[in-house]
């Protein structure tokens, strides 16, 4: 039983990590209908910006987080202003924007490798991590922070999109951008806000996760953005809370599956779940019923 409890804790940590990235990914999808794969690149670059501030310039942990947050927000909103907005104005479909987004992901990832090298670097605030023990289950302070932050943000963003004017405006715009502009909503500015908030979130997550793992490398955003995509779709499209829920479910399944299936099959298992959900429950586990996916 204790083994199971440890798997469940690991699953919660992994699920929270996915949820943190999926939240921002879903927020951007809700506002602009783009699968913003470059979000993974923003995440990677933020970790390295934080590393430079914290380790190279010795600005402390607060400086590290600030650098990650600011650089992520800046890059994220720049991608929107320079790429997605002009494409939207030109009447290009989100499908093409999605392909362009792969290009941006490749550029950011490899520029990061050119600047900071292609070997992993150690990200540590020095000293020992505090380890908590609950019965036979172990966890660290960084892991608890990740779980807490993911839960708090999921609830905050869910109520923001449900109850606050700005949140409702963002959702309306995602559903029908033309109508939103007709009724006088500043669509462009609203989308930019989404990119800033979601990217800043990715920046904070990158630092938290980097500190928890202890090392960062230029590929770190690639797998995680795939997991965020899976999380958003199995949770339910166009719903930020559902994406976070999808992240938790995915992390849980992956870690509990380790019991029976070797961890090397995690990626294949996750994508198999994605395909099953796409085919049989396209609205996701927690999403509203909508026939948008199938032909």
């Amino acid at each position: 039983m204790s083994v199971f409890a440890q798997f469940a804790v690991n699953g919660t940590v992994a699920g929270s990590v996915y949820a943190l990235i999926a939240l921002g990914f879903a927020m951007i999808f809700t506002a602009s209908r783009v699968f913003h794969f470059a979000h993974g690149g923003v995440y990677t670059l933020a970790a390295f910006a934080g590393y430079t501030a914290m380790v190279t310039f010795k600005l402390g942990i607060v400086g590290g987080f600030l650098a990650a947050l600011v650089s992520a927000a800046a890059i994220g909103v720049l991608i929107n202003i320079l790429l997605y907005e002009p494409m939207k104005t030109g009447g290009v479909s989100p499908l093409v924007a999605m392909i362009a987004s792969f290009g941006v992901l490749i550029i950011i990832t490899h520029v990061t490798a050119m600047i900071w090298g292609s070997n992993p670097v150690v990200l540590s605030r020095g000293g020992q991590a505090t380890i908590y023990r609950l019965g036979s289950v172990y966890t660290t302070d960084a892991q608890l922070t990740i779980i807490g932050l993911a839960a708090a943000l999921a609830i905050a963003l869910w109520s923001f999109f449900r109850h606050m004017r700005l949140g409702i405006a963002l959702r309306a715009m995602g559903n029908d951008p033309e109508l939103a502009e007709v009724v006088g909503m500043p669509a462009r500015r609203l989308r930019n806000i989404s990119f800033i908030v979601a990217s800043a979130l990715a920046g904070i997550s990158a630092m938290l996760i980097g500190l928890n793992v202890g090392i960062i490398d230029f590929n770190m955003g690639n797998d995680i953005i795939l997991m965020a995509t899976i999380a958003m779709i199995i949770g339910g499209l166009g719903n930020v809370g559902a994406a976070a829920g999808g992240g938790f479910v995915l992390g849980m399944i992956q870690n509990i599956a380790i019991w029976k299936i070797e961890s090397k099959w995690q990626m294949a298992l996750s994508f198999a779940i994605l395909i099953v959900v796409l085919l049989f429950r396209p609205s996701g586990l927690f999403g509203e019923q909508r026939p948008a996916v199938s032909v």
Binding site: F35, L83, G91, I106, M114, S118, A268, I275, L278, V295
Partner: protein, 290 residues
């Protein structure tokens, strides 16, 4: 000289992969990123056959293609029920699953791949030299080009474009959109798998990394840069994007960053063409990628 033959073989291989994918993306409007996976199926089937059973070239082609078609059906049957972004994501899922099988199965040799593959034989003649292997790759590329050209100009090619433009209209004429899409998928898979056969026999080894998601995205980049729906564009883009990074070798760019720079170049081209020139270098018309 060996170097130029190697570059020529690469160009021929990617021409086959790009043209077969262009029929899917450019003519039919289906953006699949499982092409590298199917290419890999052909390569693994060929390598395993050659190592354990036979290295007869024709048998390799036939069995690799059959395997490629079977796997492409597994990919296509569920994915074709989805549209646009969701079709792309489903094919990406299959790509990830196929790659994971290559990396983790016992028989595929894991991350180190397979090596020591014998040279192929054709009617008792052993194809040994780099030059002969280049010819093999070139014949495959030419066959793929000519067949694709024939399809593009045939009534079936018009039907494909009609599917891209307006599925509902095609369906209302009593044509099965699903069957049309499926047949293009299968055609594409035959050539991707055959390219896998040529890849294995050229290198007499295989490396799973050649069949990863990045590779699928690279092939899509080639299709888009060349121009969706343009066969000549595909050939041109392949030649340009393979040769261009090779010039880094002569430009005194440090070896540590050359591979990164190559990826950055590909990423920039993908962004540039999707943003500013969606018809590609030699595109059919601007809105092929809407």
């Amino acid at each position: 000289m060996e170097y130029f033959i190697y570059i020529g073989t690469l160009i021929a291989l990617y021409t086959t992969l790009t043209i077969s994918l262009n029929l899917l993306v450019g003519f039919t409007g289906l953006i699949s990123i499982a092409q590298a996976g199917i290419y890999g199926i052909g390569a693994y089937v060929t390598a395993l056959l050659a190592l354990h059973v036979t290295h007869d070239l024709l048998i390799s082609f036939v069995l690799a293609s059959i395997a490629g078609v079977l796997v492409s059906l597994v990919v296509a049957l569920p994915s074709l029920r989805l549209k646009n972004e969701y079709f792309l994501i489903a094919t990406m899922g299959f790509q990830a699953i196929i790659f994971s099988l290559f990396m983790n199965l016992e028989i595929t040799g894991g991350a180190s791949g397979l090596y020591g593959v014998p040279h192929p034989t054709l009617f008792g003649y052993t194809i040994r030299t780099g030059w002969e292997k280049f010819l093999l790759a070139a014949v495959l590329a030419a066959t793929c080009y000519l067949l694709a050209l024939r399809i593009a100009n045939a009534p079936f090619g018009r039907l494909l474009r009609a599917v891209r433009e307006d599925q509902t209209a095609v369906a209302s004429f009593g044509k099965s959109v699903f069957r049309i899409k499926l047949s293009v998928f299968v055609f594409s898979a035959v050539f991707a798998a055959a390219a896998g056969t040529v890849y294995v026999y050229s290198l007499t080894a295989l490396d799973p990394v050649a069949f990863a998601l990045d590779e699928s995205i690279f092939i899509i980049t080639l299709v888009i840069v060349g121009g969706t729906g343009s066969l000549n564009g595909s050939v041109f883009a392949v030649a340009l994007l393979i040769v261009l990074p090779e010039t880094f070798k002569f430009l005194a760019i440090p070896e540590a960053i050359a591979p990164q720079l190559r990826q950055v170049l590909y990423g920039l081209l993908l962004v540039f063409f999707t943003r500013y020139r969606r018809q590609g270098l030699i595109g059919e018309y601007r809105d092929a990628l809407k």
